[in-house]
Amino acid sequence: VTEQVVEAGRREERRPVPPRPSRRRRRWLRRLRSWGPGLLLVAPSLVALGIFVYGFAGWNLKISLSSSRNLLLRNDFVGAVNYRQLLSDETFRNDVRNLLVFTVVFIGGSLIIGFLLALLLDKGARGESVFRSVYLLPMAISFIATGIIWRWLLDSSTGESTAGINKLFAYLGLESIRSDWHKTPNMWAIAFIAIPAGWALSGYVMALFLAGLRGIPEELREAARVDGANEPRVYWHVVRPLLVPVLMSAVVILTHISLKTFDLLYAIAPLDARTETPALYMWYTTFRGGFVARGAAIATMLFVVVALVIVPYIWYSIRSERRR
């Protein structure tokens, strides 16, 4: 809407001298009538967004360039000191590596599982709507609750205090595949947190793909079959290209969820360096240590990275919507 306003304004400026003021006003009034109500309707949200999102993001950037600590915010400017310190901070580098591992495993797993579920349901399973709800339901549970359940399921105690999934393994006589899960002493520890994250969101990916599959007209597939294509070729040459936009949405949505994930990690393993990500580091350093400027610097970096993922996507979808 803002773009329309700006464009309208620009067109107005480019116009040379208007023929008659009254006609100009009438034209203006007509324009106002067409976009005025819409603007009025979104004005509160524009103001709220301006203040609470962009205003605060700017405020956050300002703090990240200051030497603020504890509750007293200092109004000074120290340049990119906090950013430089973070880049040479081993904890922060570990956190970034953890986040990368988490994101790759989580997105890969959710896409594969979600797509397979969608394929199976698309083939016309009996009681499809029941399955659809069952797979989608985990997304309705908050990440905090999911985390608390999975903290127990992924318990790594041994001997008599064995619990959770390991206990199930023991019960089935599969003790050999018991796992330390996210307590595994190497960099893949955080990959196990992708299990609950994937559990929560692969149903959502399934719904996206299922909608995509259902959106493909049956005629297209039939036409391919008439032309002698077997089922795999139908999927590869007809279905696959038509699912690319769905795949893109799924990847973008999952990426930004992954980058921002805080509650799930915090509920499963608080203050554990093996499963710490920049989002958690930001929280600890700000609220436990009072390093407000450092926390703001981490927040700004996260904001920029999320924007790098989201903005091209929004730009792309706005363009393709206009083309339509």
Partner: protein, 426 residues
């Protein structure tokens, strides 16, 4: 698509406006500092078994003494105040302090005092004659530039090793270890019998273990020196003590649970030892219905016999407290013999006052009170529980500990703690 997006935006805006107006409503009844306060809001992290009952006993006494004042219990769950602090920081930064909030006595209060968030309550001490009622060592630890800001309610001991006497006998171990080296020897015996020697949980419980390994290996005076700069963190003895800690961690069963599930493993007999503060006693005795001396018992952590690694919960008066008179009444109750004797037997801690009624403390608490008041006991302060390091240094240590727990590089950890001390610890 566009149309529905507009609808969502509008709905969001409406919701936001509603939230903003709703926020503006509270605080209307704040009679800043006037007598005749209608309520008092006290912020704490006392919500677990034992501590919640202790707080409830204090609340009912407070409401009896101050009829017409409503007590608002703003407790945030989470051991050692790890969750509460974040909620509190947000409220203080937003200029909406509670009437009184809980803090560990000592350096944890330092940044709040420096930022001008706390009222000087020295006058309250003089009015109630508290200076002679608390031990001098404690008064010294909580005095900042000659002024007092906190009222200590209780004393806890951090350096305790909990075990089950019967189980220990069953496993062929005569007595709990006197040194950490002896502990590691016992650990081998225990492992041979299929028993995990030690249980430890989330990071703060690991650091709790670490501070007591340092105390046991370095002794009281070097340990105290770690916090005031007189012991060199990068020194060979400290690095060696940290090396012992990594060996202890290697034989321990480490999870990410809070302290209670780990404590329970000792009571269940699946793990031999657990290093935890004496709040263990209230959990085991009251919550798990076990008997001290039979089902479970405590010894000083290895190498810390005759040393009392203390911590203390205390209450404060924040600047701008909306109900100041009622808050002062609350602090007076916290500092009184009556208040301390109501609270502590429930919480499983001993009173900070020296003139409390000794007959109210039985079992473990009787021996703890005896140790605390014994003049030959050496008193040192706890790191994890806020006595010896300010929040900034402590959080940098937690951060460094995260790296240490992974790479087990004691020298690097010591170096990181030392440089953090130089930049923010002093």
């Amino acid at each position: 698509m566009l149309r529905s997006r507009r609808g969502i935006l509008a709905a969001t805006a409406a919701a936001m406006l509603f939230a903003v107006t709703a926020c503006g409503d509270d605080g209307a009844d704040s009679g800043s500092g006037q007598s005749g306060d209608k309520e008092v809001e006290v912020f704490s992290w006392w919500s677990g078994p034992g501590e919640a009952e202790g707080l409830a006993a204090l609340i009912s006494e407070f409401e009896k003494q101050n009829s017409g004042v409503k007590f608002v219990n703003a407790a945030v769950a989470g051991g050692s105040g790890t969750q509460a602090r974040q909620v509190l920081t947000t409220r203080l930064a937003g200029g909406q302090p509670p009437d009184s909030y809980q803090l560990h006595a000592g350096q944890e209060a330092a940044s709040d005092i420096k930022d001008g968030r706390l009222e000087d309550i020295t006058a309250l001490y003089d009015k109630n004659g508290w200076r002679d009622k608390f031990p001098k060592g404690l008064i010294d630890a909580i005095t900042v530039d000659g002024k007092l800001y906190t009222v200590p309610v209780n004393i806890h001991r951090s350096n305790l090793l909990w075990y089950s006497p019967n189980k220990l006998k069953e496993w062929g171990i005569a007595a709990p270890p006197k040194t950490w080296a002896e502990f590691l020897t016992q650990a081998e015996t225990l492992k041979g019998k299929g028993v995990k020697p030690l249980s430890v949980g989330t990071t703060w419980t690991q650091m709790h273990l670490m501070e007591n390994v340092l105390l046991g290996e370095l002794g009281a005076s070097k340990y105290t020196g770690l916090w005031n700069g007189s012991t060199d963190w990068a020194g060979a003895d400290v690095v060696a003590a940290l090396g012992t800690f990594t060996k202890v961690m290697a034989v321990a069963e480490a999870t990410t649970a809070d302290w209670q599930p780990e404590a329970k493993k000792v009571l269940d007999g699946t793990v031999a030892y657990n290093v935890m503060g004496d709040w263990y006693d209230a959990y085991a005795g009251r919550d798990q219905k076990k008997v001290y001396g039979i089902d479970y018992a405590a010894a000083p952590t290895p190498g810390s016999d005759g040393i009392y690694n203390f911590l203390s919960d205390s209450f404060t008066l924040p600047k701008g407290a909306p109900h100041r008179t009622a808050a002062e009444k609350w602090l007076e109750l916290c500092g009184s013999v009556q208040g301390q004797d109501l609270f502590n037997p429930q919480k499983g801690s001993i009173p900070a006052r020296t003139d409390a009624d000794k007959t109210k403390y039985t079992g473990y608490l009787a021996s703890a009170l005896g140790d605390w008041q014994n003049s030959s006991t050496t008193i040192v302060g706890s790191l994890v529980h806020g006595v010896v390091a300010n929040n900034a240094w402590k959080s940098e240590m937690e951060k460094a500990y995260g790296v240490f727990a992974q790479d087990k590089d004691a020298a690097k950890f010591a170096g990181a703690v030392k440089s953090a001390y130089n930049s923010v610890g002093k």
